[in-house]
């Protein structure tokens, strides 16, 4: 039986029926105080990039624009991630309350949920919840509407600026930053875009205060995190755990006793080999939750029966298809990485070519336009460096 080293938390999914009350109470507080709450709590974006949520709201509130928008990023596309779907299924009100409070603070009257195309089955139930939510906001005299925008399937549209392009009717291609969304986002207006889980956490912070949240986790990684656990595990599923755990403890709790590697943060994340389980912690400091794309705590366990070459091949296949194709390093680099490991495997190129590919991956990391291309190096380098022999033989 797996151990139970890690404390299971139940903040996010706890069914709380006081959404309306929490919203009313929070709206009654001064905006400054709410922003401070978020800043004190240490809440960082749960999509993976980890930008401090309070600061984001503050910047948007200070930005000038004819209109402002709040967008909930529910384009959950990272391989191995499925927690936003559950949050929206089970506790959508928390997300909506988070959006409404944000709207009040920054001065937005329109919110959107950008829902992953494959989650279309949630549309009806979410719209029903939104209808009820509008009844509350109307009662409170709040001018704020939420609409759902259904994505069309491209992974890149989870990247915030590509998401705006998609919503505006253009190809989902990331924009140059700066300007950042808080200055010029959707339709060029100041926009707060938060991950589903981030908004749900905000609800808990409004309700229970920042200290409760801050007491969880470690140093720069505060609070709890919802993890999507998959792969070679007897107990796949969604778990809310405290930040700062070691991969060793995680594997003891969730592995099948034969784990040789854990992929943290999905295809865009890092591969942790067995020898590094003990010393690797999950949290922003270790940069191990996946850096920029909506990874949001995908934990994929691989046991010794798995070929890491196949794992990497699968990720690269994914990137080759899901790159938007706009910038050179990502469009061409992903193809070269995939063809490169195939060529080495087949003996068409010598094993030295792997070093050239590592160098390529590093250059992609520093030159690609958005988080997608930048993060390919995460999985590529961590798998190739730690499982070199599997790449060659």
């Amino acid at each position: 039986m797996p151990k139970k080293n890690l404390k299971r938390l139940d903040l996010i999914f706890k069914n709380e029926h006081d959404g309306e009350k929490v919203l009313m109470k929070t709206l009654a507080r001064p905006a400054q105080e709410i922003v401070n709450y978020l800043i004190i709590s240490g809440l960082k974006g749960r999509g993976g990039a980890g930008y401090p949520t309070g600061l984001k709201w503050k910047l948007a509130s200070e930005a000038e624009g004819e209109m402002k928008y709040v967008i909930c990023n529910a384009d959950e596309g990272e391989p191995g991630t499925f927690k936003d779907r559950e949050i929206l299924s089970q506790v959508p009100n928390k997300v909506l309350v988070g959006m409404a409070v944000c709207a009040k603070i920054i001065g937005a009257h329109q919110g959107f949920i950008y829902l992953r195309g494959e989650y279309k089955f949630l549309l009806q139930q979410l719209n029903d919840v939104i209808d009820d939510f509008h009844v509350w906001t109307n009662k409170m005299g709040m001018d704020f509407r939420v609409n759902i925008f259904l994505g069309s399937g491209a992974y890149i549209c989870g990247e915030e600026t590509a998401l705006f392009e998609s919503m505006e009717g253009f190809r989902g291609e990331p924009r140059n930053k700066p300007p950042f969304p808080t200055q010029a986002g959707y339709r060029g207006m100041p926009t707060v875009i938060n991950n589903v889980e981030t908004l749900a956490h905000a609800f808990s912070i409004f309700k229970y205060g920042p200290e409760m949240f801050k007491d969880l986790g470690v140093q720069d990684s505060r609070g709890s995190k919802v993890f999507s656990v998959s792969g070679d595990t007897p107990i796949p599923g969604i778990y809310e755990l405290e930040f700062g755990m070691s991969v060793q403890k995680f594997v003891e709790d969730f592995g099948d006793g034969d784990a040789k590697a854990v992929q943290v943060g999905g295809a865009a994340g890092f591969c942790v080999p067995r020898k590094k389980f003990v010393n690797t912690k999950i949290g922003y400091q270790g940069k191990l939750t996946g850096e920029s794309l909506p990874t949001g705590g995908s934990m994929m366990i691989f046991n010794s029966s798995r070929s890491m070459y196949n794992v990497l091949h699968n990720y690269l296949d994914f990137f080759v298809e899901e790159s938007c194709g706009q910038c050179t390093p990502c469009r061409v680099g992903t193809q070269q990485l995939l063809l490169g490991i195939e060529a080495v495997k087949k003996g068409e190129r010598s094993s030295d070519y792997l070093n050239r590919l590592l160098d390529l991956a590093e250059n992609m990391r520093v030159t690609a336009k958005c988080g997608l291309g930048q993060s390919v190096a995460n999985s590529f380098s961590s798998i190739v460096e730690n499982f070199k022999e599997e790449m060659i033989y």
Partner: protein, 595 residues
Amino acid sequence: MNRVNLNIDSIQVSVAQGTTLLNAAKELKIKIPTLCHHEDLCVAGNCRVCVVEQVGSDRLLPACATPVSEGMEIRTNSLKVRNARKTVIDLLVSEHRADCTRCFKNGNCELQQLSSEYLIGEDSYIDLVSLKEYTIDYFSPSIIKDDSKCIRCQRCVRTCDELQAIGALTVAYKGEDMKISSFFEKPMYEVICTNCGQCVNRCPTGALVEHNYIDEVWAAISNPNKHVVVQTAPAVRIALGEALGMPPGNIVTGKMVGALRRMGFNSVLDTDFTADLTIIEEGNELLQRLKSVLVDKNPDVHLPMTTSCSPGWVKYIEHMYPDYLPNLSTAKSPQQMFGALAKTYYAKKMNIEPEDMVSVSVMPCTAKKYEANRPEMHSSGYKDVDLVLTTRELAKMIQQAGIGFESLENEEFDSFMGVSSGAGVIFGATGGVMEAALRTAYEVVTGREVPFKGLNITPVRGMDEVKEATIKIEDALPEWDFLNGVELKTCIAHGLANAKIVMDKVKNGEASYHFIEIMACPGGCLGGGGQPIPTNAAIRQQRSDAIYREDTGKPIRKSHENPEIIKLYKEFLKKPLGHKSHELLHTSYTERNRY
């Protein structure tokens, strides 16, 4: 304006807020390589060749897309930067069919240049071109599109969208399949493309090039049974030098004539001559339309009248504003007037059988190739213009012929159909047709010269996107007294995005112009798609200055005073808009779909 202080390569610099790192470096004479960047277009930040290092920052910044900020410390030539740039160039080469020796752009390819600078070796990444199925679209008489050479910088897409408001080229698919495509991936000649060639002018590689007819022209020249006439458009002579190593802004008319003669053309003639003729026909058409509308109240006659000499514009209006085709002047473009006369009047005069004649034109334009192939353009009984070359193709032929262009003596065009006025010359610049038309029309109506110093109608000149000018007609001759007191309202636009602005105004009843000049290309023909590469705002200005210098230097400045034109009417055409004119010099248009 607020200044921002930063440090680039250990040099302290202060630039205006909002300046990009690329331009800040330029002020220090530091060159940062670029590919997707083009001064005429919005910032893309796609190719990543221009990355620079900000000290203390892990990721590199695209210099073209990053505005300066206070206290930045930038390194444009660190090891990290060089490695990154070399990687990016190497990647682009791996997806580019680097068949340089067989490429039309060999020697004028930005990727080739960068590969050379960064010493991209043979030990490269895996060749991606051979793994994909590419087909070359060479069906258009104007533009060849070869995706295997495309580096996806999207300059063409931005050109077609921003400068021309067409969107014939767009991005399709994603990831490894991402490509520049057209509506339903149809060939270029089947879509809304106007053949303007602005994309060709901005393509950094050989993915978009003109359909060249160099070998066909040489074959004609070498055929002893053929009499080959060549005509050269106004904007060629002020840009050709650029493609032959001379700085922009040189007038090389005489050298060009000399070169053409040395190449073996039998008659070296001038499109400027038929530019003058266009003015007579189109100017009279305008006056006739004014009379029909103002006096006869004829509901079938339409104002404003728009010019029709830009074939890109003609195809654009056929696609986008077909309801306004009756507003388009029926006068053919100078190229096609020339072609129709060459195989009739000129052939007879020179005692040449028209079937033994090959009519070649040199144009700043790729749409002219399409225009020459329009079915309407056979009024001589033959194809009026057989082969159309761009300025670039002519330059290539001069090089092939081994002619030392810069040391050539100036020579004169042959006659007949070689004499032109300054009014014909300025056809090459935006506003030029309008100015030429006004010089003539005003004088026809009033008997006096246009009331502008030195005949320079400056309000219609310059690079403003849309220009408006009004001329009040007073003391008209008796025949035109209905125009007394009329304020002739004119409008000039260049670049089809600006044409759209004007046409939408007309359509919405927000403007009441009488006469509109539209040129498909930015700056007019001098910025045409067939002109030397690069073309940008500064170069367009230098070419424009040269054109107006050429005009000022001409002894005759008004089309109707061109002695050859006078003779042509006397001997052959009899009168403007007469029977012969209608047969040879006027045409009709075709409504086309938007897709």
